[in-house]
Each structure stands twice: as C-alpha cells, then as structure tokens.
C-alpha cells in the first residue's frame, strides 16, 4: 500500500468506501423492506386463517346445535320408539351437513331387557336408512364417540375417522351426552351423535393456494393430518410422526402449539417441497381442529429479490463507472506528476537545462509545475552566481597564499643565522594565526660587534597587517644604522609610520642592540610585552620597561632606551602576545606564569629546543582550539667569546 501509486490508493480507498456505503444502504433497505413484507404477510395470513376458521366454524357450530338441542329434549322426557326414530330421521333429513345421527343408550336403560340400544339414521345413496348400532359385534360402549363424552361428561368432537361404509369419506362425530334424574340422582342416560362429513372442509382448505406452492392443512387434536396436499399423510401421519421422521424438533414444538389450540406465525419448512415458509396457524373453536397455512418465503419474496437483484446490478454498473472515472481523474493527476518527478530527478543530477513538462491545467498540479520551473530558474541563477563567487574567492585565497609566502620570505629563515659567531646563539619562530600574519621579527648586524634585533606585533591581522608589518620591517632596516641608539631608531620609525597612516594601524615593537663583545643590550620597548632575561643560574626576570607607546599612534612621541647586561650563559627571550594570550577551550589564557614556568623548565636546552618546547606546551594547552593570534618568539643566549 505504502509503495503503491496514487492512482491505486485512490481507486482502492474510494471504491472500498463506496462499496461499504452501498452495502450498508442496500442491506438496510433489504432488511427493512423484508420486514415490511413479512409484516404484511403476517397480517394477511392472520386474516386468511381467521376467515377460513370462521367459515368452517359457522358450519360446525350450527351442526353442534342440533344434537345439543336434541339432548335438551331428551333430558326432559325419554322419547321412545317411533317418536325417537322420527326425531332422528328428521334431523338427518333436514340438516344437509349431518350425514348420520344416533341416540345410543347406556346399558339396560332404554329397555330393561336390552343391554344395548342405539337407533341410527344415515344417508345412503340419497335415502335415509336405519340401523341399530347395538349389535354384539359393534360394542358401542367402548367406541371413542361414546366413551369419551361419557367419561368427560361433556360434548366432544371425535378424532376424524374414515367411514368404512360411506365410501372413504372422512367423518367426525359430535357426541353430546344426555341425562336423566332418577330418584333425585342425575345420571347419564346415553349419547346423541351427529356424524359430519369433513370432505367439504377438505375442499375449503384445499382451495387455499398461496403463490405457487403455498397450501393449507388441518390437523386433529392428535396431530393427525385431516387434510394435506400430500395424500398419504391424510388420516395416517401425525405432525409428530413427520417431525420424528425428519428429526425436526421445531416441527414437533409447533405441532404441540397447534393441538393446544394456540395460534401463531412461525417459520416453517414445507412438508411438500422442503422450502422455507412462514406458517400461520389457528384453531377451529368448534371441532378442536387446527388450521395451518403455508406462505413460501421465496415465492412471496420474489419481487423483493428481483428488486434487489436489479439494485445489485445497478450497483455493480455504478461501481464500474466510478472505477473508470477515478482511473481517469487519477491519471490526469499522476501523469503530469510523474512527468514532473522525472524532470526533478534530472534536475537532482545537476541537469538544470532540462525542460519542465508543460501543464496546461490551472489546478494545483499546474501551480506545482510552474513553481518547479521557477525553482529551476532560480536554482540556475543561484548556481551561476555561486560559481562566480567561488572563483573570486579562490582567486583571493591564492593571492593570500602568495602574500603569506612573501611575508614569510622577508623574515629570516635560516637558523642558526650566524654559525661563524660562537659568542651567541639566536633562534626565532613565527606561527601566523591566519595565512598572512601581523607579527614580525628581524635581526642584523649594525657593525661587527652590534646585533640589532627586534620583535613586533601589528594591530589587526590579514593582508593590511602584513603590509604594515612589511613596511615596519623595511623602515627599521633602513633607519637602523651604525652607532644609532634604539630610541633614535624607534623615534624615526614611529614618525615614518604615523605620518601617513590612513588605516590607523599601529605596531608594538621591542628593539634591542646587542653588543656581542661585552653582553650589554641597549633596548627600547614600544608598547610590546616585556621580554624575559633567563639567567644562567636559572632565574627569570622581566626586562625593565621603557614606558614606550606602540608605534604609529603618536607621531612626535619620544622613546627612551635602557640597558641590560647579559653574562655568560644568560639569554633574552622576546615574544609576542600570541604566546601568553593563547586560549584553551575553557577560555583560559596561557599566561605569563605558565610561560615563566616553562622557561625555567627548559633553561638548559639548546635555544631552538627551548622555543620548540614552548611551542609544544602552547599546543598542548590550547588543544584543538583554533589559534587566534600570531605566535612569535625569539631567544638570544650570550656565550661570551673568551
């Protein structure tokens, strides 16, 4: 994902979001429409069931009235013989729903000589026929239609049964007990029955057709199918035997609800097609039968399913359309972007002459391309400027190097400088802080016995300082002549430097004239650090000051000279402030104390080694801290020629 292109990310994120939204909307509308439809189906189903049940109940309850009324009559007076027969015949004749009717008496009640008496009138091929059920083989006392109402003491609809004589029609008998009070004791006298064919009822239920495969069925109190499109179930299977055969606990549960006279609306698998249906069930109030009507889910949902299919197809088409649009948009963004990326890559390699692809749009991408072009132009200009500046800088640096070389060139470089003179040893070093420094030192003989030496430090650094230093050095060299006192030299040099000094530079200078015959040094100090005398004994003493100003500051200043005498083994050590003011990383100065200590430590060594030792000590002290000032040192040791 991270490494995928912008187009891929756009497509993935937008399409997955759109799909999610679509599915949510689709799912909600599906669930909701389904709920509404189920609700409607439930309502219609309930109405249908109620209507059917009423239709049946109207007939059955009118049938119930007949034997009930008859029982009332018989309760009052025991009709006998012809009277009873006429009554029964009348009932069968005048009630088209009643197939047959009987009055069955308890043993020995009707006639003290007869155990069984049960006159029965029934319809047969359009005629009313008579039969006595009280035969030895047909023990009516033990028949359900007789026994159950008798034991329960109330009217009862029997379980539907196949009438063996009447040509395979399903019948049910409504049996009503009647009573007689004999000697103040009410006792059951017999049972009045009305046999009702259930075939009309089967027709009503069979006419229920819901969609293609929906159907209605009736079950009895025992769960026996009284009507069912599956003929072999009728009067044979119970809803519970089907539940057992199918291992369907739910079917058994629903069956129990049905035979208990409950009503409801439940999911139900069709026993005919195995399809998932909704079933409404409701009891008949009269005959204790229960009606079930099946509504095949898929068939009733067909419209919704079709609608959903169309919605899904539209969704998929929309998805494809959206895909194409996003690809187009993504391309229009990424194509110039990748062209820009290519161009930028070229620029990154240094090719600033590459042309930025032309983008006509004025959107953000167009702006970006424009900015890129502007950036390229600026970069190009900047690099051109930089090249020029660098060239100039390089030129100056090389010139500075040359200046440094020249500056170093004018300082004495060969040590020992006077190897043919054993009277003294001289050594000097300079370490410029930058390429061109402002320190100077020099020494030269004025005559055979007098060595003029000086160490100076020009204010400032770099080229101006070095030029001032070169001027100072040259002036000293030209002004110092034989038998001239140091103060005279300094006065003249000071005047020369001060006369025309627009840059207001100045130089501190220590100048001494050393008589190599007797070791006396006449000196004059123009604002320079006082040098040290290192006695042969090891004592260090600073050279007394002459209270001179730095040269180039005051034109008519008058310098004073002083004298110091070196004995055999004594040495004079002159240095610039770069030595004592060398700094370490903690901004501490090297200081006079450290210098003095170092000189004491190094006193017996060769003069060159003493300077090298001090230099090393300074380096050690300042570590990596950059050098800020020139470091110049000179030492002269007097050996006295015996």
């Amino acid at each position: 994902m991270k490494n995928r292109g912008l187009a891929f990310k756009l497509i993935l994120l937008i399409l997955s979001s759109v799909t999610l939204i679509f599915l949510l909307i689709f799912g909600y509308s599906y669930m909701y429409s389904r709920k509404i439809i189920i609700k409607n189906i439930e309502k219609n189903a309930m109405n249908l069931a109620r209507a059917t049940v009423n239709q049946i109940d109207v007939v059955l309850s009118s049938v119930e009235k007949v034997p009930e009324n008859m029982a009332c009559v018989l309760d009052q007076s025991l009709c006998t013989g012809e009277e009873l027969n006429n009554l029964l015949k009348h009932i069968v004749q005048n009630n088209k729903e009643i197939y047959g009717s009987a009055v069955a008496f308890e043993p020995w009640i009707y006639d003290g000589e007869k155990e069984r008496y049960a006159p029965y009138f029934y319809k047969s091929s359009g005629k009313i026929r008579y039969s006595n059920l009280g035969t030895a083989s047909y023990k009516y006392f033990f028949q359900d239609w007789y026994q159950i109402p008798k034991e329960l003491n109330r009217p009862v609809w029997t379980e539907p049964y196949f009438d063996e004589g009447g040509g395979n029609i399903i019948m049910s008998t409504y049996s009503v007990p009647f009573y007689r009070t004999v000697e103040g004791k009410k006792g059951i006298t017999g049972i009045i029955t009305a046999d009702v064919s259930l075939s009309w009822l089967q027709e009503i239920v069979a006419s229920i057709k819901i969609a293609k495969t929906g159907y209605g069925f009736l079950i009895s109190q025992n769960g026996t199918f009284v009507t069912h499109p599956q003929k072999k179930f009728v009067m044979n299977e119970t809803i519970f035997s089907q539940a057992e055969a199918r291992g369907d606990e739910e079917l058994r549960r629903i069956g129990r609800e049905m035979i208990r006279g409950k009503s409801g609306f439940v999911p139900f698998r069709s026993l005919l097609t195995g399809k998932l249906c909704w079933m409404v069930y409701a009891p008949l109030s009269s005959s204790k039968l229960s009606l079930g009507v099946l509504f095949p889910q898929d068939e009733l949902m067909a419209d919704v399913v079709r609608l959903n299919k169309i919605v899904i197809i539209l969704g998929v088409l929309g998805f494809i359309f959206l895909f194409v649009v996003i690809v187009f948009i993504a391309r229009s963004i990424t194509r110039p972007l990748s062209a820009l990326a290519g161009a930028t890559e070229d620029i990154a390699t240094g090719n600033l002459d590459v042309s930025i692809p032309e983008i006509r749009t004025r959107d953000e991408v167009g702006q970006l391309a424009h900015s890129f072009d502007y950036m390229k132009q600026s970069l190009k200009q900047y690099i051109a400027d930089l090249t020029e500046t660098t060239a100039a800088k390089e030129r100056i640096e090389s010139e500075l190097q040359i200046a440094h070389d020249i500056q170093m060139g004018i300082l004495p470089k060969i040590f020992p400088p006077f190897p043919e003179m054993p009277e003294f040893d001289l050594y000097a070093t300079i370490e410029p802080a930058r390429e061109v420094g402002g320190d100077l030192f020099d020494f030269f003989f004025l005559d055979d016995d007098h060595l003029c030496f000086n160490v100076g430090d020009v204010s400032g650094k770099g080229v101006p300082a070095s030029l001032f230093m070169a001027v100072t050095k040259t002036l000293i060299k030209t002004r110092a002549t034989k038998d001239m006192a140091p103060e005279v030299i300094l006065n003249q040099v000071n005047q020369d430097l001060s006369t025309d000094n627009p840059s207001l530079l100045f130089v501190t200078l220590f100048l001494g004239i050393f008589n190599i015959k007797d070791g006396t040094i006449e000196y004059c100090n123009g604002g320079h650090n006082p040098p040290y005398i290192i006695r042969a004994s090891g004592e260090i003493e600073a050279v007394e000051t002459t209270d001179g100003l730095a040269l180039g500051v005051m034109e008519d200043f008058s310098f004073q000279s002083k004298r110091v005498v070196l004995n055999k083994g004594d040495a004079i050590f002159i240095y610039s402030d770069g030595v004592t003011e060398a700094m370490n990383s903690r901004h501490e100065l090297f200081s006079e104390e450290r210098l003095e200590g170092e000189l004491k430590r190094l006193k017996g060594l060769q003069v060159g080694d003493i300077l090298a030792g001090v230099t090393e000590k300074i380096r050690e002290f300042s570590q990596d801290e950059p050098q800020t000032d020139d470091i110049t040192m000179m030492i002269i040791r007097y050996n006295r020629n015996e």
């Binding site: 359900d144 009067m235 519970f240 035997s241």
Partner: protein, 337 residues
C-alpha cells in the same frame, strides 16, 4: 434395428443364465423335500412379527426345508382358534394364553418364547399428579380385554390400589382426552402412538410391569402336541429359522422395515415408517435377553413360566399349574451351540 437385435440377444442370454441357475440351485434347497407349513401371528403384519416375514422373504425358512405360509392375523383370526382347529401349524401366542390353554386341557406345546420381557405397561400423564404407583389410587384406569388385565390387576394388588376400571378400546383417545388417568399400552405400539399425538415422554409417567416383579413375557411359538410328536425336527427347524429371521431383522432393520411397510400396505393398514421403526427397535429390546448373547434367544426360563402360572392361578384363571416340561419343549439348547 441392430440395437433391437442386441437387446433381444441379451435377453436370451439372461434367460438361459436364469434357467441354468435355477436347475443348479433347486436340488440344493431340496425343492421336493420342502415341507408345507403355516403360521399365524396374533395381529397384522406389523414390525412385531418382522422376524417371521423377513425370514420368509429372505428364504431362511426354505433353507431349513420349510415352505412357509404366514396367515395374516387380525381381529377376525384368533391364533388360538386356528391352532386348535388345524388352520395353522404354528401360532404366536402370549405365554399367559398358552398356559391357560394348556391348563384348560389343550394339547399344545410352547417351543419358543420369543419375547423375553413384557411389553405391557401403564402410562399416566404427570399433569394428573401420578408419579408413583400409590398416586394412582382411586383413579380411572383403562384396561383391555382379560389377557391384558393379568399384570395390571396383579400390580394393583401388589400396591394395594383400588382403581376405577374403564374398558379401553384400541384407540388411545380416551387417555389423550383425559377420559382416563391411566391407560394400558404396549411399549412398542400405543406408547409411541401417544408420543406421536404430541405428548412428550417427559410428560408421562410409565409403569413397566417387568420393573415391578411382574414380567409376564408375551409372544411365543406354539404347536399342537400332535404336530410336535409327528415331526419334532420340523418344529426345531421352524424355531431355528424364526430365530435366524429375527436376528436378520435386527441386523438389517431397513430391509425388515421395507418388508413390513410393504405387507401393511398390501393389507391396507395405515401406518408410518417411524412407528414401525420404533416397534422393531423395541422388539429388539424385548427379544434379546439382557445379557445380549443370542444363545438364549427363544428360550423359556422356568422362573418366567412359574411367575406367569402362579399369577394365573392366583387369579383363579387356572386350577392347577401344568408342569414346565409338559408345557415347554426345548428346541434350542444352550449347549447345542
């Protein structure tokens, strides 16, 4: 045309093959020596008699040299009558019926006690408050005819119960509508019918007589003394074939049920497969003794005999108890195997 010719040719080959097989097999089965025998079960060809019907179907009786005809039982054909008047060579009777007949002078033998355990039971709805025998006192109980009343009456005496006895028909509707509190039922038949009318087993209290010391095992095979003496080998063969038939039915329940369903359909008797399946499974429980070894299959235990005989005499249904050996002829000895 060619196709038709090939078909014809194939048919010819098959016919020839059949002819050859028939010729080869017939002598082995002893077509000439097969003895014609008839058998009457107590009732319609339901799974209660699956062992006999599958034995016939699978040629097990032929294997034992018997050409068997099973007479369809039912209300109109009491097996005791058919056995006595020679209408059937073998009959299935209850042990109590057999003892009553023998004690009454009928010259019959029990040659196999197929059921080892009594299937008769009493059921009550828990809703009527009956959980144990004493709860029944004073309640209405539905009882069938005399032979079915032996155990219930002994049971009531044992638990000192005074019951209102109501004659029970063949339907269980009186019980289902609460016309009686307690009903008689055969475990393999009415009990399942009650369940298939929507009453759950946990809503019923059951009293199995065999659990109350009143095991009066039912179906057994009976033969006239005369028939037995004439050809004891035939009787033996019939019993062994019947036992093998039962074993086959238990080993191949689907085949046995298919035969049962076909026979019931032929007799136009409505039934369901689940009911016959239940019946066959219960028959297995009733026929195979508890130790599970088939060696005892079909044997009559003297304890069972004397328990039933004592019960009959106790109710004064018989005057004296016939001796065990005069009643039961061992066909299949334990040691035989």
């Amino acid at each position: 045309m060619l196709h038709a010719k090939i078909k014809k040719y194939c048919r010819f080959i098959i016919s020839v093959a059949f002819f050859v097989i028939t010729i080869c097999v017939a002598p082995v089965e002893g077509g000439d020596t097969l003895k014609k025998v008839s058998f009457i079960p107590q009732w319609v060809p339901q799974a209660q008699f699956a062992g006999y019907y599958i034995g016939l179907e699978k040629g097990i009786y032929r294997k034992y040299g018997i050409d068997l005809t099973i007479i369809t039982g039912g209300q109109d054909s009491p097996p005791s009558d058919l056995l006595m008047d020679g209408g059937a060579d073998f009959a299935s009777l209850w042990l109590s019926t057999g003892i009553q007949m023998r004690a009454g002078g009928a010259k019959i033998f029990n040659i196999a006690q197929i059921m080892q355990r009594s299937a008769l039971m009493l059921v009550a709805k828990k809703a009527s408050g009956i959980e144990k025998p004493s709860d029944m006192n004073g309640k209405k109980v539905g009882l069938w005819g005399p032979v079915f009343q032996l155990q219930p009456r002994a049971f009531f005496r044992k638990y000192n119960l005074t019951m209102q006895i109501i004659p029970q028909s063949f339907s269980v509707n009186l019980f289902l509508r609460d016309g009686v509190d307690v009903a008689s039922a055969m475990w393999y038949n009415e009990y399942h019918t009650i369940m298939n009318c929507g009453i759950n087993p946990d809503e019923l209290t059951t009293f199995f007589f065999h659990e109350h010391g009143l095991n009066f095992p039912e179906d057994g095979i009976y033969v006239l003394e005369e028939t037995y003496r004439k050809d004891p080998a035939l009787c033996g063969a019939f019993v062994l074939a019947s036992i093998e038939g039962w074993q086959y039915a238990f080993d191949h329940p689907d085949e046995a049920l298919a035969v049962t369903m076909r026979n019931l359909k032929k007799e136009h008797i409505p039934t369901t497969l689940v009911h016959q399946k239940w019946m066959l499974e219960r028959m297995k429980d009733l026929i195979l003794p508890e130790n599970g070894e088939d060696t005892d299959m079909g044997g009559l235990q003297i304890e069972d005999y004397s328990r039933v005989a004592r019960g009959l005499r106790g109710m004064e249904l018989i005057d004296s108890v016939p001796s065990f050996t005069s009643f039961y002829k061992v066909i299949r000895d334990k040691d035989e195997k």
